[in-house]
């Protein structure tokens, strides 16, 4: 492993450990549910949905003792602060009757997720050196946080494909992916997004590799198997399928043109790659069908209130209106969408602000002025990335297929997220999207930052990388400080 990457990963690991330890149990979004899923697999050997209670008595006892349920969204509510309260929980936990660990497993919405991540966490649960509830929970968190190292490594490799062997640029891309506080915060809880970010990060690298170096059976199989595994990890990864197919199609076309017999080789590579996708993805589909479970997360079901369908022209029109109002002010002829107000501010409030810092259950934030700075920085970075792309195009280094690969992944993810939000808004009247849902793209964010640094003279790139990495450390320290203050001061 290159030394700069190894040193960076050590720093990323330190910060992840800090996030693991500092954030109180249950205060990473949806951790309660994801933990329930993993515990159901670990203790009952089944997927959630058939258990006698929503949560096991042991989990519920710990939740009540730690104020777990009362803190989300209420910044003034604190976890218990005294040893007496801890001892009280310990006594209550020790007195639980047999079966208290395994009597959960009831239906939870997250129970529709595929089981890969939860199986991994169930193994961590059993492998934990401590046997207490919090021993196991925190060990599971550590195992989850390890995926950030993969996320950062994926960004390093991706930057290597985009910029060639340029260590400072690779370091800054990997540093951004591994040290962005929200990535570490979410990944350091029991949350399948930890694995999701890692898979996406590596998928970006593998796709770029195929497009840059040409399709081989090895690279095609690696990309497609990864996307198949990612699909069996979280339904969000459906959005990786279109770019995967694009990479295969472009790879096939480019390889077919190289020599007369190459078309056959290219076709074999594509078919073997697709088979590599079908194995893990198909395994989940078959398992889900056999267990009579949905393959992807279901829309909430209400009698007499049908879920929106893409096949309805009226729905499509309303959906487009919703997307417009998410990003831009509402036009006079548009029907208002209650949760979007006069329209146009969600881009800033959700996609920009919440990516930079939105901790706890969304109640731990920087002061409002800081987000204006983050927005300005985001615009600057995107402009720098665009300038670098234009310069590369002028110099003939720009590969349109790679850009299309990234763009298709971004558009697919956004479509998925907007369709999910539109459906949930229509049925339940609540907003769904959060900035963290964009974090599967964090490796691309790293490439954008590296592209900005690449605009500088070569002699300035390493110092600029130092400024970026130092700033990320400072942002991490302030973010951790916010969290310490929210829960423990």
């Amino acid at each position: 492993m290159p030394a700069p990457l190894a040193l960076l990963l050590a720093v990323v690991a330190l910060f992840c450990l800090a996030w693991v330890l500092i954030v109180p149990a249950g205060q990473v979004p949806d951790e309660e549910m994801h933990l329930q899923y993993a515990l159901t697999l670990a203790e009952r050997g089944e997927l959630p949905g058939h258990g006698p209670n929503g949560f096991s008595t042991q989990q519920w006892t710990a939740e009540v003792a730690t104020n777990w349920e009362r803190m989300p969204g209420a910044p003034e509510r604190k976890p218990p602060w005294t040893n007496g309260e801890y001892e009280k929980w310990k006594a209550a936990d020790a007195a639980l009757p047999p079966g208290s660990k395994s009597n959960g497993g009831g239906y939870i919405w997250q129970g529709d997720n595929p089981p890969l991540y939860y199986g991994y966490e169930a193994a961590a649960y059993h492998a934990s050196p401590g046997r207490g509830f919090f021993d196991r929970l925190y060990f599971m968190r550590v195992m989850s946080a390890l995926w950030v190292l993969v996320t950062a490594t994926g960004a390093w490799l991706l930057a290597g494909e985009i910029f060639g062997r340029d260590r400072p640029l690779q370091l800054v891309a990997a540093g951004f992916a591994g040290l962005l506080p929200m990535v570490d915060f979410v990944s350091s809880g029991v949350n399948p997004d930890a694995m999701l970010y890692a898979f996406w990060s590596v998928a970006f690298w593998l796709g770029a590799r195929i497009l840059r170096r040409g399709l081989t059976v090895r690279d095609g199989v690696a990309l497609c198997a990864l996307v198949g595994v990612a699909f069996a990890e979280k339904s969000t990864s459906i959005a990786l399928i279109p770019p995967m197919l694009l990479a295969l199609a472009v790879g096939w076309r480019r390889l077919s043109r190289t020599r007369p017999q190459a078309r056959r080789v290219a076709t074999v590579a594509v078919l073997v790659s697709l088979a590599a996708f079908a194995v893990p993805a198909g395994a989940w589909v078959v398992t889900a069908k056999a267990l009579d479970r949905p393959i992807t997360n279901r829309a909430p079901h209400y009698v007499g209130k049908p879920a929106p369908q893409l096949t309805s022209i009226q729905t499509d029109r309303q959906f487009l209106s919703y997307v417009w109002q998410f990003y831009l002010p509402r036009l006079p002829f548009m029907q208002p969408i209650p949760l979007l107000g006069s329209g146009g501010d969600k881009l800033y409030r959700v996609w920009v602000s919440q990516v930079w810092g939105n901790f706890g259950w969304q109640e731990v934030n920087f002061p409002p002025w800081a987000y204006k700075g983050f927005a300005a920085l985001s615009v600057l970075l995107l402009a720098g990335g665009a300038a670098a792309a234009l310069r590369a195009r002028r110099r003939g280094h720009f590969d349109l297929a790679i850009a299309a690969y990234f763009a298709l992944a971004i558009v697919s993810l956004l479509f998925l997220l907007h369709w999910a939000e539109y459906t949930i808004m229509s049925l339940e009247g609540i907003a769904f999207n959060q900035g963290r849902y964009l974090l599967p793209l964090v490796a691309l964010g790293g490439v954008v930052v590296a592209a900005c640094v690449s605009l500088l003279r070569p002699s300035l790139r390493t110092p600029a990388t130092g400024v970026v990495l130092g700033s990320l450390v400072v942002l991490q320290l302030f973010s951790l400080g916010l969290v310490v203050e929210r829960y423990f001061v």
């Binding site: 700069p4 990457l5 040193l7 500092i22 309260e85 494909e161 990388t465 400072v474 400080g481």
Partner: protein, 219 residues
């Protein structure tokens, strides 16, 4: 300054400046709230007739020192003076203080009740001393009560206490010390490791493509 020192020095300097800023912010961040019970203040929790009193729903464990009680009081036309009394678990009076009438409706007001004992179950009662009804805001029957320090402490000053609190409900062997070790590592070791990473990155970058385990040759 030679480039060998300048390059890693950049990251150390940026982090040092950031840590200094963080310390200054934490030192200047005054914490008046000793322990909030954390109920919202959106609804009316109690409407108290003149001369009558109302108490908080059940005693609450207060783990830290405090000498004031904060309540959200009043609605337009109902801002009478109130007396706040703090009882211990044995119903003994542990503190008492008044809030003068005429406060802006729906605002948070603090009664100085004197030093309260640490780590006990405390119950707050509010007595209406005026002639108009007193309104205490809260969440359902739970009053929006916070125990206060009239002499605030800074976040920096409370860091050790915060680490003690953070060590609870963690793996059995975790005390406050891992938090101190981690804090030291993040502030001192992390920037040094990054500085070294930068120096190595520049050296490898200049060394040529033969070290490349990943990317294609540079254009």
């Amino acid at each position: 300054m030679s480039r060998r020192l300048l390059v890693p020095g950049v990251v150390v300097a940026v982090v040092a400046a950031g840590v200094l800023a963080l310390v200054l912010v934490a030192a200047g961040n005054e914490q008046h709230i000793a322990y909030p019970l954390g109920f919202g203040d959106e609804g009316v929790s109690a409407q108290i007739a003149p001369g009558a009193h109302a108490c908080q729903q059940g005693a609450a464990h207060v783990p830290t020192s405090a000498d004031g009680v904060r309540l959200t009081l009043g609605q337009p036309g109902s801002t009478p003076p109130v007396r706040v009394t703090v009882f211990g678990a044995d119903r003994r009076v542990l503190g008492r203080g008044d809030i003068r009438g005429g406060y802006p409706p729906g605002t948070r007001q603090v009664a100085r009740v004197g030093a309260l004992p640490v780590g006990q179950d405390l119950l707050v009662c509010v007595e209406n001393l005026g002639s108009a009804p007193a309104v205490v805001m809260g969440e359902g029957p739970n009053m929006d009560v916070a125990y206060m320090r009239t002499r605030p402490r800074s976040t920096l000053d409370l860091l050790g206490t915060a680490f003690d609190r953070a060590s609870l409900f963690r793996p059995e062997w975790i005390g406050a010390w891992p938090f101190w070790v981690l804090a030291g590592a993040l502030v001192l070791v992390a920037p040094l490791l990054l500085a070294r990473a930068l120096a190595r990155a520049e050296r490898e970058d200049l060394a040529g493509d033969d070290l490349d385990p990943v990317g294609p040759p540079r254009a």
